[in-house]
């Protein structure tokens, strides 16, 4: 799995790892990420880091809804230096969404991942990641989730 370093269009390999409440607090204190991540301590929070660099460039909070056979993306953020035209790395959100899809397969949920989008961003998630729209949620499952895993995991 990789992100792209925009300045040189070079692949940088990344890893995604679960973090505990202590690390969530530490990352929150750095203010490198928008939103209050301390609110996510009750959920599964993961960090995306470029290999051989400890500092995360992406964070993801997942709610495991076992009774509903689903993973819900509660919150996802690229670090502040990775937003907009001047961002250092591309593909951060895609890697984290593909990771969520893979976790949803590993848990036996058929790759079912959902999120509640901001209305004005909905079309972009659908276009970029192939999400399907329902009244309240965007969802990906089955073949589309496999496609995302292939796209983001195959180097």
């Amino acid at each position: 799995m990789h992100v792209l370093k925009n300045s040189i269009r070079e692949k940088q390999f990344v890893t995604i790892a679960k973090i505990d409440t202590i690390e969530i607090s530490l990352i929150n204190k750095t203010k490198q990420f928008d939103f209050n991540w301390n609110k996510e301590k009750l959920f599964n929070v993961y960090k995306l880091t470029v290999e051989e660099n400890d500092e995360p460039i992406g964070l993801l909070s997942l709610d495991e809804r076992s009774d509903d056979y689903a993973l819900e993306i509660r919150l996802l953020a690229s670090s502040k230096q990775n937003i907009g035209k001047s961002k250092k790395y591309s593909r951060i959100a895609g890697c984290l969404i593909a990771f969520a899809c893979k976790e949803a397969f590993k848990r036996g949920f058929d790759g079912f991942v959902c999120l509640k989008p901001k209305t004005k961003l909905e079309a972009h998630y659908i276009k970029k990641y192939g999400f399907r729209s329902t009244k309240l949620y965007l969802i990906t499952e089955g073949e589309n989730s496999l496609k995302l895993i292939k796209e983001y995991y195959e180097d």
């Binding site: 928008d34 509660r74 919150l75 591309s90 959100a93 790759g111 509640k116 901001k118």
Partner: protein, 183 residues
């Protein structure tokens, strides 16, 4: 995790500076909106439908799901640094067979080995040859590649070579004039 000190004061992001596409490319925003009664009903209906859809899958869909689950569990395991004795080649092979609701005898026929040999693989009493690993890839139509199977075998071997004291004692008699450097 180290925290850099003396960092310049970091500002909150002004989201309005970015296009919608740039925001979607960087975030999934938190959903802190309070739901109306109508939306709560829609939410509840959505999850009811999801549970129903999942529980009404056909046997084939369930099998496909179980095999994909195995594929990703296997891949994650072989690509991780951890070693778990229980997660050996025989365990994953047994899972591959049982998740298809097949008897060992039927599966042995499908990959052209005797039931006795398959049993030895499953119980880790025999190391599979490359040919067998390739057959497994072909049998799954590429879903679980030979390299993933090979990496499990490799992982088992690495553990064995690191921990086999008996073999060290046995081989000791064949080694003479040992180096005496401190290490």
């Amino acid at each position: 995790m180290k925290i850099k000190k003396n960092r310049k004061e970091i500002q909150e992001t002004t989201f309005s500076k970015f296009t919608e596409e740039e925001l979607a490319d960087a975030f999934v925003f938190p959903s802190d909106k309070v739901l109306t009664a109508k939306e709560k009903k829609e939410d509840s209906d959505f999850w009811t439908a999801r549970r129903k859809q999942f529980e009404n899958r056909t046997p084939i869909q369930k099998m496909y799901s179980r095999l994909l689950q195995l594929k990703f569990q296997l891949e994650d395991y072989v690509n991780s640094d951890q070693y778990k004795e229980a997660l050996n080649f025989g365990y994953f092979l047994n899972e591959y067979v049982s998740r298809q609701d097949k008897k060992d005898k039927q599966f042995a026929e499908e990959v052209d080995v005797t039931p006795a040999v398959l049993s030895q693989y499953i119980n880790n009493h025999r190391k599979p040859k490359d040919e067998f690993v390739i057959r497994l890839e072909l049998h799954s139509n590429g879903m679980i590649p030979a390299i993933s199977w090979f990496k499990v075998i490799q992982k088992d071997k690495e553990h064995e070579i690191m921990t086999n004291q008996e073999l060290r004692e046995e081989e000791s008699k064949h080694v003479k004039n040992r180096l005496e450097f401190a290490y």
